[in-house]
């Protein structure tokens, strides 16, 4: 399960509206619970480096991630997942989303943005033991 505050949940959805018709992307920071629950305490917006195809592709610069990770360490926060938007496309993971997902145990949150308005937001956890058996599975989101 993914727990996230109302304000951070609205913020990641709003990010998708602001970047429409391009995909937005960002990092979810927080804590891993002992029972498998992840709690998001803060989101960090990122730039989408896929200037060649931003309407249906995203990529976060590792250098930006390192900075976010460093700032997170200073606040005792971990990277618990990532978010991005699908402009005029369902809030479901695509074959590309799965192929490019490598943070096993983390959440991948997707928001469909239809004609500029955030519609559905779904979360998926990347499960498995390695690249050969990884899967994105539906994850309940608790907006608190």
């Amino acid at each position: 399960m993914l727990k996230i505050s109302q304000s951070e949940f609205l913020s990641l959805r709003q990010h998708g509206e602001e970047t429409y018709p391009h995909e937005c992307c960002g990092v979810l920071l927080g804590h891993f619970g002992d029972n498998g629950t992840k709690t998001v305490t803060r989101i960090a917006r990122c730039g989408n480096t896929r200037a060649d195809s931003p309407h249906n592709r995203y990529h976060i610069d590792p250098k930006e991630l390192i900075r976010i990770q460093r700032e997170g360490r200073e606040r005792a926060e971990d990277i618990v997942g990532f978010y991005h938007s699908h402009p005029d496309h369902p809030a479901q993971w695509s074959p590309t989303d799965l192929a490019e997902a490598h943070w096993i145990g983390c959440s991948y949150v997707i928001t469909s943005v239809e004609k500029g308005s955030a519609a559905l937001t779904n979360s998926f956890e990347l499960t498995g033991s390695d690249e050969a058996d990884k899967k994105l599975v539906d994850e309940k989101t608790d907006v608190i």
């Binding site: 992307c25 891993f32 249906n56 592709r57 990770q69 997902a101 145990g105 983390c106």
Partner: protein, 94 residues
């Protein structure tokens, strides 16, 4: 001593440590030392040919080692090596 930052998905293979100090003069030595101490990490970082997996980025401080001297990049005390699996995706199409 240089330090390696371990990303969350790999900590189960590094004794749950988020950072590990390494005694190494180069990035290659540091990574070799890491997988020697924690052998389960090897298959997650390297392919069957022994090369770093393409989605595994290795940074020395804020620089991608690919644009330095790769595994031969020299290290000094206080350097931070970050292992950063890539983050990307997309909605549809090829």
């Amino acid at each position: 001593m240089p330090q390696i930052q371990i990303p969350s998905p790999l900590r189960q293979y590094s004794g749950k440590q988020a950072s590990i100090d390494v005694s190494a003069k180069t990035v290659g030595e540091a990574l070799a030392g890491l997988v020697s101490q924690h052998p389960e990490l090897k298959r997650h970082l390297y392919n069957e040919e022994g090369k770093l997996r393409t989605f595994v980025n290795v940074y020395v401080n804020d620089e991608d080692m690919r644009y330095l001297q790769k595994e031969a990049t020299e290290l000094k005390d206080g350097d931070t090596i970050s292992i950063v699996p890539s983050i990307a995706g997309g909605s549809y199409g090829v």
